[in-house]
Amino acid sequence: QWDEPRVCSRRYLKVDFADIGWNEWIISPKSFDAYYCAGACEFPMPKIVRPSNHATIQSIVRAVGIIPGIPEPCCVPDKMNSLGVLFLDENRNVVLKVYPNMSVDTCACR
């Protein structure tokens, strides 16, 4: 993903349940688009990274450099989507659960 922007943004990640060993009891979906957030949140932060006020101040403090050890704000999921999962429980009964916050919709500097 070298061509992707260095600034904080959403990156593509497809999770296959077989890769994490959950495919024996998860019936559907077999995989889903989870995405992830990565990239820099350095000063000055553009609007596109939707910085919180705290993140803006933290990036300024870090840029000024008076207080040592202050990291740059984190690039984290901002809005997330739920995912319905059909799986077998311990008694091998079929269960449907809709899990919140399973895939990233947008990322932000926080």
């Binding site: 959950w22 998860i26 050890g69 059909l86 449907l96 809709v98």
Partner: protein, 335 residues
């Protein structure tokens, strides 16, 4: 039937099931299109619900969970009794609705033949009398706790008119399931009693009944809820040193996680850990703290003897820590 009030009487369940009317009316067709495993109607039904609720923002019956329970057939006094084990429901799951799905067979052929062959009597007006009412069936629900050998407490009874042809039906049994759960009696039995004199020896039907429970899992927004229900192994195996209380001691993973939080008295750490400089804080984390253990206890439990031994070890380790503290305190006092 699904066209009859039974469906319209289901408030939340209807939300999930009315869309499945075609499937319910023609289970054979659905089974044919979905392959041999589709004889298992509960799997077919759950797949349909999954497809429906996979759409963004859709909530099954206003909650977030649908559990299905298969029936186990037992013949008691020449009567078919279907048992359902509802113990896999989590404490955090608030039941919204529960529905009982069963396949109603049409009146048995010999009886129908008998009725058809009889000359129909006429009343005073000369019009033929209607045929006798079809054999009614009674659906009886009982509940029992896991360790009782009794027949179980009668939780509900409903009369059913047999349909003219084979048909899947659903009945709202929310009050029955809620009451059984409240009383901790999560083994439910359903018995279809017929008024027929000789119902015959029951045999396993390809269309076994099932129960669907729509629930709202209040713990689903908790951190790691996905691991609590979907992770089936402990990434930190038994050989891994565990500096804190063993995470697999409690039966309920959610309780276990809550109980894992240790105070400064147990871990000899200063209170106010969170306010330490970030670097020191990060170094202090143990992997068990980074990933609290909501994992199911799949490892075999140690025998009583081993447990006692382990308990002694823990006690000795704790004593050593206490001795050390005492010495330090004495030194400090002398100084």
């Amino acid at each position: 039937s699904h066209r009859a009030p039974a469906w319209s009487a289901l408030p939340a369940a209807a939300d999930g099931l009315q869309g499945d009317r075609d499937l319910q009316r023609h289970p054979g067709d659905a089974a044919a299109t979905l392959g041999p495993s589709a004889q298992d109607m509960v799997a077919v039904h759950m797949h349909r619900l999954y497809e429906k609720y996979s759409r963004q923002g859709a909530r099954p019956g206003g909650g977030n969970t649908v559990r299905s329970f298969r029936a186990r057939l037992e013949v008691v006094d020449q009567k078919a009794v279907y048992f359902f084990n509802l113990t896999s429901m989590q404490d955090s799951e608030m039941i919204l609705t529960a529905t009982f799905h069963f396949y109603s067979e049409p009146p048995r052929w010999p009886r129908a033949l008998e009725v058809l062959c009889k000359p129909r009597a006429k009343n005073a007006s000369g019009r033929p009398l209607p045929l006798g009412p079809p054999t009614r069936q009674h659906l009886l629900f009982r509940s029992l706790s896991q360790n009782t050998a009794t027949q179980g407490l009668l939780r509900g009874a409903m009369a059913l008119a047999p349909p003219p042809r084979g048909l899947w039906q659903a009945k709202d049994i929310s009050p029955i399931v809620k009451a059984a759960r409240r009383d901790g009696e999560l083994l439910l039995s359903a018995q279809l009693d017929s008024e027929e004199r000789d119902p015959g020896v029951p045999r396993p039907s390809p269309y076994a009944p099932y129960i669907l429970v729509y629930a709202n899992d209040l713990a689903i927004s908790e951190p790691n809820s996905v691991a609590v229900t979907l992770q089936r192994y402990d990434p930190f195996p038994a050989g891994d040193p565990e500096p804190r209380a063993a995470p697999n001691n409690s039966a309920d993973p959610r309780v276990r996680r809550a109980a894992q939080a240790t105070g400064p008295l147990q871990d000899n750490e200063l209170p106010g850990l969170d306010e330490r400089p970030p670097r020191a804080h990060a170094q202090h984390f143990h992997k068990h703290q980074l990933w609290p253990s909501p994992f199911r206890a799949l490892k075999p439990r140690p025998g009583r003897k081993d447990r006692r031994k382990k308990g002694q070890e823990v006690f000795m380790a704790a004593s050593q820590v206490l001795d050390f503290d005492e010495k330090t305190m004495q030194k400090a006092r002398r100084k």
